[in-house]
């Protein structure tokens, strides 16, 4: 069973994907096997996902990401935290990102969240 995603986690794009921005669209391109069933399948983000993704810089915790978005969009941080955690969890389950427990562990994979 998958572990819960913590607000203290730091989220970075997986080494198994390449993220490209083409004409303002973020496209996540799998490099390694097992992320998509059919080669040639890609991922794209809707505006909300795009806004969150831009903040996932491998430095900020998810809580800090939500807080930054809260300021940008003038919305309650608690509401945004729910979206950010759900988004990070969905990305993690597709192996598009790697979650680390906290900033100190950035650069090493966190086995707690391994699929």
């Amino acid at each position: 069973m998958d572990a819960q995603v913590s607000l203290d986690a730091v989220c970075t794009p997986s080494e198994d994907v390449v993220v490209r921005e083409i004409e303002g669209n973020v496209i996540i391109i799998p490099v390694a096997a097992g992320i998509v069933e059919v080669e040639g399948e890609l991922f794209t983000l809707n505006p909300t996902g795009h806004a969150i993704w831009r903040k996932l810089d491998g430095q900020r915790t998810l809580k800090e990401v939500a807080s930054a978005l809260s300021r940008d969009y003038d919305a309650p941080s608690s509401d945004i935290e729910v979206d950010v955690v759900a988004f990070a969890d969905a990305l993690r389950q597709r192996r598009l990102v790697v979650l680390h427990e906290h900033r100190a562990s950035v650069g090493s994979r966190c086995t707690t969240f391994a699929r």
């Binding site: 096997a33 040639g40 399948e41 969905a90």
Partner: protein, 377 residues
């Protein structure tokens, strides 16, 4: 907040095409090949030292590919020659993958090692396409002119398939293997990952070598044989329900002296093994290629390529023949300025062989068209 989709479904493509972004490019890693196929338009001997010395280095490929990605490229086809002849193939392949390109590979499979299979397994290509030159050792090696090539092909293909790598097969139909067409088709159907295609159209040599061109011409099928293949498969041009539709609708009203009615240099280009950019794999006329070792890809794309595409014919014969021919504007005719150059040395001369095929296919499909002056009885 995120969705996955098949690359061709992405609504962005139409917008990107309008902006003339180079979405895809072919990368010829080498012109050398361990086979010596009778019909090949490019192959040089595997031990050709001069050709090897001219090949792009890994760093040069990195520079060109990175620039292409910056300009918007999404697809890259690695081809040759035989690309697996390059010892640094795994490095090149991974480099392109890690740039975020969707990479396809054309190979004859004979040099596939377990290392290659592991590489493709871990980092899957979008497609691997392998041509089946014969269903028997005798026929296969009649085409490739290399002893033991059939066993090497089978071994390499099996290595890929046993590793769970799905391969698309292709049936290159030439005079030397025509008698095995049904067996080759069955082989393709049995092992291909989704569909297979039969290709009976042989281009002449990029280097215009007269002796090799004579061999290619000797391998060409007759127009009626080509049409029969289309009928039997319903995969070729003649078999497609859309046959007769305009391939490039914007070209419907092109003036009769316009040469380029195709997509060459519109959203794709080819990088030759020696770093020379071509609008397509066949357009080899010296004043239509751009040396990327001396210039920059963006300059080539923004300035050089459009200037080539704007070239027109001043030849009356062309304007009254291909320039006006409706079949030259739809997907029934293989004529193009690149093929014209390879066949005649000029980019604006009709090619009888293509005319015969196109008109025979049009007749076969019941497509009515106004005949150009050239074809008036």
């Amino acid at each position: 907040m995120f969705t996955h989709f098949e690359i061709h479904q992405f609504p962005l493509w139409d917008r990107l095409r309008e902006k003339r972004i180079p979405l895809s490019f072919d990368l010829e890693l080498t012109a050398r090949c361990n086979f010596n196929c009778r019909h090949c338009y490019i192959n040089l001997p595997a031990d050709d030292v001069q050709a090897k010395d001219r090949e792009l280095t890994l760093e040069e490929i990195r520079h060109i590919a990175r620039k292409a990605v910056q300009m918007g490229a999404v697809w890259c086809l690695i081809t040759g020659g035989e690309p697996l002849l390059r010892k640094d193939f795994p490095d090149i392949y991974l480099l392109l993958k890690r740039l975020g390109l969707l990479v396809s590979v054309f190979t004859n499979a004979s040099l596939v090692t377990s290392e290659h299979a592991r590489l493709f397994k871990k980092y899957p290509p979008r497609d691997i396409e392998v041509t089946v030159y014969g269903a028997s050792k005798e026929t296969f090696e009649q085409v490739t002119r290399r002893s033991h090539s059939f066993e090497a092909f089978l071994r390499g293909l099996q290595l890929l398939l046993n590793s769970g790598i799905r391969v698309r097969l292709k049936n290159m139909v030439i005079r030397s293997n025509r008698h095995e067409f049904d067996e080759i088709s069955s082989f393709c159907l049995k092992h291909t990952k989704d569909y297979y295609r039969s290709d009976p159209f042989l281009c002449l040599r990029n280097d215009r070598d007269p002796a090799r061109n004579a061999e290619i011409r000797a391998e060409r099928l007759t127009p009626m044989e080509i049409i029969a293949i289309g009928r039997s498969e319903r995969r070729s041009v003649a078999g497609q329900p859309a046959a007769g539709a305009l391939l490039f609708p914007e070209q419907r009203d092109a003036p009769d002296n316009a040469l380029f009615r195709c997509g060459a240099g519109q959203d794709s280009f080819t990088v030759g093994y020696d770093g020379r950019l071509r609008l397509c794999s066949a357009l080899c006329r010296p004043d239509c290629v751009y040396d990327l070792r001396r210039g920059d890809l963006s300059d080539a794309w923004q300035d050089f390529v459009p200037a080539v595409r704007e070239r027109c014919s001043t030849r009356t014969e062309y304007r009254h023949a291909c320039g006006r021919c409706e079949l030259a504007r739809i997907n029934l005719c293989r004529w193009c300025p690149a093929n014209s150059y390879l066949e005649t040395g000029e980019m604006d001369r009709p090619v009888d062989y293509f005319c015969q095929i196109a008109h025979a296919e049009a007749a076969s499909l019941g497509i009515r068209h106004s005949r150009s002056d050239r074809h008036q009885p």
